[in-house]
């Protein structure tokens, strides 16, 4: 968003990059995960998120991980208070989930993920 260097694109699925063929824009998930250093919660959150996305959103998502220890100025923009915080930037509306994402069901509900048919 502001600077590219802070964002580490963890998972980029090539078919999803230019917009998937079948599904519209509204189906594509842009997720940003805020962490602060490699704490157990942060590590767990990254792993949990990747797993959920692979299960439910294969090919339709992109995750950026922002480490606030490196880029503290980014915390203000997304109103980050808790760590870890996952922000669903797309599709609208913006949603936030705080915690290490260990409860898969509530992550699915929180992100409003439709099960892949």
């Amino acid at each position: 968003m502001k600077t590219g260097s802070a964002k580490k694109s963890v998972a980029k699925k090539s078919p999803a990059r230019k917009g998937p063929a079948k599904t519209g824009e509204s189906d594509f998930y842009r997720l940003r995960l805020y962490i602060a250093g490699q704490t157990p919660n942060s590590v767990a959150a990254i792993a949990n998120l990747k797993k959920i996305c692979e299960d439910k959103l294969k090919g339709k998502y992109r995750i950026e991980v922002v480490d606030l220890l490196e880029k503290p100025q980014l915390a203000k923009g997304d109103q980050i208070i808790a760590i870890p915080t996952l922000v669903r930037r797309l599709p609208p509306p913006v949603k936030k989930i705080i915690g290490n994402l260990s409860k898969t069901e509530s992550v699915i509900v929180g992100l409003d993920l439709q099960p892949v048919r």
Partner: protein
């Protein structure tokens, strides 16, 4: 490590206090006195009652109900810090956006935008919308720490305001996490040697709704906004200030175009210096009645009398005499406008206008009901502090009585008289009494505070009405006890012949009234 510091500090202060209290055991007054460094708030009066400001490098809790002035106090602390004391500050605001906050304090003459541009101040609006947030699994509030830490580092802040951190309780469901994080936050602030104000909304039975006072050990200030008989008064009280002595009273404070001013009122001891030089009452013959020299400088004078006996004229002469000596006079009027007083005084041969033009005579006209007693006290206090007059006239105090009970007026006058004496200001209060009740109760209630009491009254011997004057008391001098006629004409005020006939009776009556009170 953190917990170690936390537990060490309170213990240490406790220990020092105890050793200071213990007699003969190697007294170390110097250590005890330098123990607590303080940071001035720059808020008029508050630094006086706290003995220098807020505890340096500690967290202070400011609590009170909605609209009591918490945020303003906190913002003044930051702005004064940035402007006057060279201490940049960070405001983490959980309630108002930067724009709103800027607009709000602009009305008090603070230019936040400029301060932010010059990196003296930083405002971070933290919004928490629970509807947007879901919680799953473990987390902490490191994000808040990072934001605050980043802001502090960017402008090298020394002061921090969290206003109002309680908003987090509505945004974060897991209160166990929140509470442990809050206590970590307050410890973090202290570790960073930041002087902080945390605000909190008053709860039903607790100081704050969410018990923030549990985490703040050093200083707690409570603000209050009370309405009695439709008149509101703001008050401030220091509930706790560890390791320092502080005033425990409720102090009235005022929010006006200059921000907050607190009135530090009763000093605990009567230490004002009694001056021996004298000031003229403005009427030569009245001076004569007081050893020919007039009032003591720094004393307080009460003038009572029924309607139309010349109280205001007497006060105006007193004021004019002060101006003629080149001294500054502050004239508070509660029933006439300044121009009305000028016109009326011209009719009795007194032209006050030159003094007004020379800026020696300052009028302040207020409706008694415009604010509560404490509000009046605050205004009087602030004006006196600004102008530093040597003479103050309050004409009349009776109208203030009408807005409150006599206990209140007495306590207000005690504070006022105390303050005036400390500042060595000669003051004159006029008080309307009613016919048939010559030593009216209020007059009696306040008279014990007064050094000099001049009584004016009407009488009609032989059907010819006349005004009479006598000095009922005047501490520290051999004053005349004679009753004299007060002659008011276009040539001014004058005292006529000694009225021998009724003298005995009046003095006895007056003394009786004083005895009844004292």
């Amino acid at each position: 490590m953190l917990e170690y510091c936390e537990s060490l500090n309170p213990g240490q202060t406790e220990l020092n206090r105890r050793s200071a209290a213990m007699p003969r055991a190697k007294p170390k007054p110097k250590v005890a006195r330098t123990l607590l460094a303080k940071v001035p708030t720059g808020i008029q009066g508050l630094d006086e009652i706290t003995g220098g400001g807020l505890p340096k490098g500690r967290v202070t809790l400011v609590c009170g109900r909605a609209g009591c002035g918490k945020s303003l106090l906190a913002m003044e602390f930051l702005v004064h810090g940035a402007v006057q004391y060279g201490e940049p500050g960070v405001c983490m605001n959980f309630e108002e956006t930067e724009e709103k906050l800027t607009a709000n304090v602009a009305s008090l003459g603070f230019d936040l935008r400029d301060l932010i541009k010059r990196k003296k101040l930083s405002v971070d609006y933290v919004s928490i919308d629970r509807s947007q947030i879901a919680e799953t699994g473990e987390y902490n509030l490191e994000g808040l720490f990072i934001r605050l830490g980043h802001a502090v580092k960017t402008i090298k802040a020394k002061r921090v305001v969290l206003d109002s951190v309680e908003a987090l309780f509505s945004g974060i469901a897991d209160s166990a996490i929140l509470r442990s994080e809050l206590s970590r936050l307050f410890r973090w602030l202290e570790d960073q040697k930041l002087t902080a104000i945390v605000t909190g909304e008053a709860g039903a039975n607790t100081l704050t709704r969410h018990g923030l006072e549990e985490y703040v050990a050093d200083c707690v200030i409570s603000l209050d906004h009370r309405v009695t008989e439709q008149i509101s008064t703001r008050r401030l009280r220091i509930i706790k200030y560890r390791g320092t002595s502080h005033g425990t009273d409720e102090y009235p404070f005022l929010i006006d175009e200059d921000g907050i001013s607190v009135v530090p009122i009763t000093s605990l001891v009567l230490t004002h210096k009694a001056l021996t030089d004298r000031v003229s009452a403005g009427i030569a013959t009245l001076d004569e009645m007081m050893e020919g020299k007039g009032f003591f400088r720094g004393s307080s004078v009460l003038v009572t009398g029924t309607a139309g006996t010349g109280k205001s004229s007497l006060a105006a002469n007193f004021a004019s005499a002060a101006c003629a000596r080149g001294e500054l006079c502050l004239y508070f009027t509660f029933e006439e406008s300044p121009s009305q007083i000028l016109r009326n005084m011209r009719s009795v041969g007194l032209n006050l206008e030159p003094w007004v033009r020379k800026r020696l005579l300052h009028f302040n006209a207020m409706r008694p009901t415009s604010t509560g007693l404490e509000g009046h006290l605050a205004v009087i206090h602030r004006l006196i502090s600004q102008l530093r007059p040597s003479v103050v006239v309050i004409d009349p105090i009776t109208n203030l009585v009408s807005i409150s009970g006599s206990y209140d007026i007495k306590s207000m006058l005690v504070r006022l008289v105390d303050f005036l004496k400390m500042a060595q200001i000669t003051s004159m209060f006029t008080n309307l009494t009613f016919a048939g009740d010559p030593q009216e109760r209020t007059a009696a209630a306040v008279s014990s505070l007064m050094d000099t009491w001049i009584v004016l009254r009407d009488s009609k011997p032989n059907g010819r009405p006349r005004r009479e004057l006598y000095v009922l008391k005047s501490r520290g001098m051999a004053h005349s006890r004679e009753v004299r006629e007060l002659i008011v004409s276009e040539r001014g005020l004058e005292l006529g012949i000694v009225l021998k006939d009724r003298m005995q009776a009046t003095t006895a009556e007056g003394i009786g009234a004083v005895a009844a009170v004292e």
